[in-house]
């Protein structure tokens, strides 16, 4: 029993310490003046990897989620003779919740896990170490551009997701089920507010971007430099990011709406 409590305590202390390490890592990666000239190219390359390569999955998911919402929403609203509110339903559901959350989950699965694996591999093959010994700080050379690329890409991806989702809903509701296009969009326009809804969506996307990217980078940077260590870290990234996104979503929703 005593042993159990002891190991529980050890576990907790270990977790708190790794939170501390994660914070220190982020601090060292982000402080100090950035060297724009040298690091801009790195940033662009990472935005390509994190953002551009995620477009397909984001757009396809957004389209289907919008279409499903349109279909389900139409069938439910039909019973209340309120199909005119379909635009409102689809747009608010996507902008307030599904857009940022699903984007973040997809991002964690596609980009986050890749970041963890990449950095874990760099660590395992001593590339980070050798960079350190060359007097190049890997936190600033490797971690920092990836972090910023994530923070820049995610809100844009989220925005694309929302837009595609709304048009996916329109495709089903208007083009297939015969709702009037004007009704779809005017219901939307009268209920979606620029700052309260779309602004909140961007804030959510930013917060999720920071959380997911941070978790991914830290898991890679802190992993055991072995094959199984990297695979564990990758799994941890996906699990922790998903939980963080859902938890943060609740907190942010409670704060903003």
């Amino acid at each position: 029993m005593l042993n159990f409590i002891g190991s529980l305590g050890n576990y907790a202390i270990g977790k708190i310490a790794s939170l501390g390490r994660a914070t220190i890592m982020l601090y060292h990666a982000l402080i100090g003046k950035p060297n724009f000239k040298k690091h801009f190219g790195l940033l662009v390359a990472q935005i390509y990897f994190i953002g551009v390569l995620s477009i397909i999955i984001i757009i396809v998911s957004g389209l289907f989620i919008g279409m499903v919402l349109g279909l389900q929403g139409f069938n439910i609203l039909k019973d209340f003779m309120a199909t005119g509110s379909l635009g409102q339903l689809v747009s608010l559901a996507i902008i307030r919740e599904l857009g940022p959350v699903v984007t973040a989950l997809l991002y964690a699965g596609r980009a986050g896990s890749a970041l963890t694996a990449e950095i874990g591999q760099l660590k395992a093959s001593e590339q980070l170490s050798s960079m350190e010994m060359m007097g190049v700080d890997p936190l600033r050379r490797i971690i920092s551009p990836r972090f910023w690329a994530g923070v820049i890409s995610m809100p844009l991806l989220s925005m694309m997701f929302c837009l595609v989702g709304i048009y996916g809903g329109k495709l089903v509701g208007v083009d297939w089920l015969g709702l009037d296009e004007g009704v779809y969009f005017s219901g939307m326009q009268s209920s979606v507010l620029l700052v309260d809804d779309i602004g909140a969506m961007v804030v959510k996307a930013f917060v999720f971007a920071i959380a997911c990217t941070w978790i991914a980078l830290f898991n890679g940077y802190d992993c055991k430099p072995t094959s199984s260590g990297i695979s564990k870290a990758t799994t941890a990234t996906v699990v922790q990011s998903s939980l963080a996104v859902l938890g943060l979503d609740f907190v942010l929703t409670a704060l903003m709406f």
Binding site: Q127, S130, M134, G135
Partner: protein
């Protein structure tokens, strides 16, 4: 200008309960090749990481070129590291970029030289290790020996004061080994780069080393110039240098329980 490029005083280091070093002191002389010998598993690589500031000693001080490494600020540490260089056992080349870019990497990071000049410098460094022909190959296309030479070219890119070699001869065929030995020797004589070689390949390193330290059981077992070590009468040093099976060195790792009992 101090005579010693590295001074280690009363260094202790333990890692998760294991004592790796217990109060050792050693000096690395400027412009010389110093060999650090010891059986595998005595934490010789750890010593290099301690000098490079990647690990923090539990106790003691490490002075590199007049700067105390232990307790230095992070920023200063990165400044100091520009003057030293380390050749990793694996080479640790950046796998996503080719050999040329690998060698150019420290130059691009630390200097503002124009591309044309960097190109010339890189080709010079590659020529020095005989790999100019492989400049545009990727690390995974290189053999182990070539990768190590490419890593060496990268290590000398910034003309460091000191290079630390971590087991440079391990797993190399005799010819490559000879090439590496000659390279290390040449770099030392022509560029006057101080060198620390951590190894257990005694025969090769004794050909080129000026000074030798032998580590064993977290202590310095013995040290002296190559001649002194070769002529030493200490039975342990003798066994290690000559690679004898029989002697005071235990072949087995020390175990808590006796062999008979455990069986």
């Amino acid at each position: 200008m101090q005579q010693n490029i590295v001074e280690i005083k009363n260094l202790s280091f333990s890692y998760s309960g294991n004592v790796i070093y217990d109060d050792i002191s050693l000096n690395i002389k400027r412009g010389q090749i110093t060999a650090i010998l010891g059986p595998s598993g005595t934490g010789k690589t750890t010593l290099l990481r301690l000098i490079g500031g990647q690990l923090k000693p539990t106790q003691g001080s490490i002075i590199f070129d007049g700067d105390e490494i232990n307790g230095i600020s992070r920023q200063k540490l990165y400044e100091v590291r520009k003057k030293m260089s380390m050749l990793f056992q694996s080479g640790a080349l950046f796998t996503d970029i080719n050999v040329f870019e690998n060698v150019a990497f420290p130059l691009r990071e630390h200097t503002k030289l124009p591309d044309i000049l960097i190109r010339d410098l890189v080709l010079m460094k590659l020529e020095a290790v005989g790999l100019r022909a492989a400049a545009y190959k990727y690390p995974q296309e290189l053999s182990g020996g070539m990768a190590r030479r490419a890593a060496l070219a990268r290590a000398i890119a910034l003309d460091p004061l000191m290079i630390m070699y971590d087991e440079p001869f391990v797993g190399q065929d005799p010819i490559t080994m000879g090439v590496l030995v000659k390279l290390i020797k040449d770099l030392n004589t022509h560029l006057n780069i101080s060198s620390i070689i951590v190894t257990h390949d005694v025969a090769e390193v004794l050909e080129i080393a000026h000074y030798v330290y032998i580590l064993h059981n977290a202590k310095v077992l013995g040290h002296g110039t190559t001649q002194e070590i070769k002529n030493s009468n200490d039975p342990m040093i003798k066994q290690f240098i000559n690679g004898l099976y029989d002697g005071p060195f235990a072949f087995n790792l020390k175990s808590q329980t006796s062999y008979i009992k455990e069986l």
